[in-house]
Subunit: 305 residues, 2 copies
Amino acid sequence: MTGMSSHNLAERMESVAVDVRAMLETVLEPAALDGEINRPAHLMAAMRHGALNGGKRLRPFLLIETARLLGAPQEAALRVAVALECIHCYSLIHDDLPAMDDDDLRRGQPTVHVAFDEATAILAGDALLTLAFDILSAPETRLPPQTKLDLVNHLARAAGAGGMVGGQALDLLAETAPPDEAGIVRLQAMKTGALLRYACAAGAITAGADADDVARMTRFGEIAGLAFQLADDLLDVTSNAAAMGKATGKDAARGKGTLVSVHGIEATRQRLDGLVEEATTLLEPFGPKARMLTDAARFVAQRDR
Amino acid sequence: MTGMSSHNLAERMESVAVDVRAMLETVLEPAALDGEINRPAHLMAAMRHGALNGGKRLRPFLLIETARLLGAPQEAALRVAVALECIHCYSLIHDDLPAMDDDDLRRGQPTVHVAFDEATAILAGDALLTLAFDILSAPETRLPPQTKLDLVNHLARAAGAGGMVGGQALDLLAETAPPDEAGIVRLQAMKTGALLRYACAAGAITAGADADDVARMTRFGEIAGLAFQLADDLLDVTSNAAAMGKATGKDAARGKGTLVSVHGIEATRQRLDGLVEEATTLLEPFGPKARMLTDAARFVAQRDR
């Protein structure tokens, strides 16, 4: 059973990743849009390098599957998902900069500031961040105006000073002043949790779901975010650089606390199993068609096993 | 006559700058908004440093005066103007970074990466950029949903890869491969022109103006952008560091071409007078109430005299 559903999940994730890549190619094409003046070739190349370099496209997947579960038009959901992925990719480009995490490799490829230069990487990140809001607000995203505005506003709050960027800022401080457990939870809820929560909330908003379903999917996204981070922290401890395609053990090396360092590996795995249980219970009202999302939650939680 | 209108202009600009600062204080307050988790104090301090450090607030002024001319609600226009100013301020923070222009001073104060650190400056810029789209899309911006979406989409295109950020990218290239005259014009239309054009277009959109008036004000904004850049290039040649509050003569020192270096000081001043004439003619249909905007165009064009 697990084998079968995992198989379906892997196929569906791959299919979404192909669609996301194709739409990213479209929104990153060289021709200037209405209202634009010119798209400089080297800037667009840097944006493509940062956005098209693989990845599981987990955030788009959660968004699109949530939208599908709640009956949203799939073409619109794909555009919203691609907007979210632009935000995720910009954050990786800026995170990798010398002044931030100073990483040379990302998914086995040179990071944008290595492949291009630091200034171009800063600008490519800025441009991908800006592009996300272009995509959501453009006429091609065929949704009611207020729905699009809600998607813009929720994204801005998930990604900005009170969400992802704020989490990065807290993460910088954590290197010199390790936070306590509550501080770690908050930092992670912002740095990685906010976009995963948005993925599921936005899927529901795209579908025009009622407040109850938006709240339910928002909570599902929070659980997915928690599970993602805990599993990531476990991987940081247990895996090796080759399997991750990036440097590992870095958090420990920098003295950054994680919940794994507080509770240990076994207790963290038990917590992850509890989160999968909670996610599954939460989506029970939707019946078997929620299976893809609960499988995704399990996949996220058990990546290290 | 000039004295009287200049007096009005200076008073009105000062009044708008006070309003903009107050609204910036509001949108940068420490308390997290709905949908945000937490606003880290040091990140907010860096954002405030970058956003509240004076400046003429020219873009908000043009936006608010255009909105006023065309009958927009002033409270909404102020919020739209503040969103635009967030974009302008983020661009200055990122522009000043060591990897970009490497400036230590901005309006006589330490730049954000000097007052804080480089990583925090990158994040403060990212957060201000994101905040702009929060402000436009928030319920507090009381405009019809489609109007708000138009403001979001136009801003994204003015500020992104096909506008301001693309202009910065072209500017980086210009240091090693000086562009020809057409290249200089395009670079400047993107780097500084796009936001000034947006200011006037957005004022008209905020007012719900018809397509003709939006087009007219967009053209007015283009002229203001051209004049701004030409006057800035003149100042770079003719003024001194004390008067500007920042290093000058830098463009020339870096070998970057400007239209002043192509045409000379006198021809550039004549061109500026022609632009003021064109701007004045363009707004004639609005009668004397357009006076504040044509005075602003003259002020922008003749800053060096």
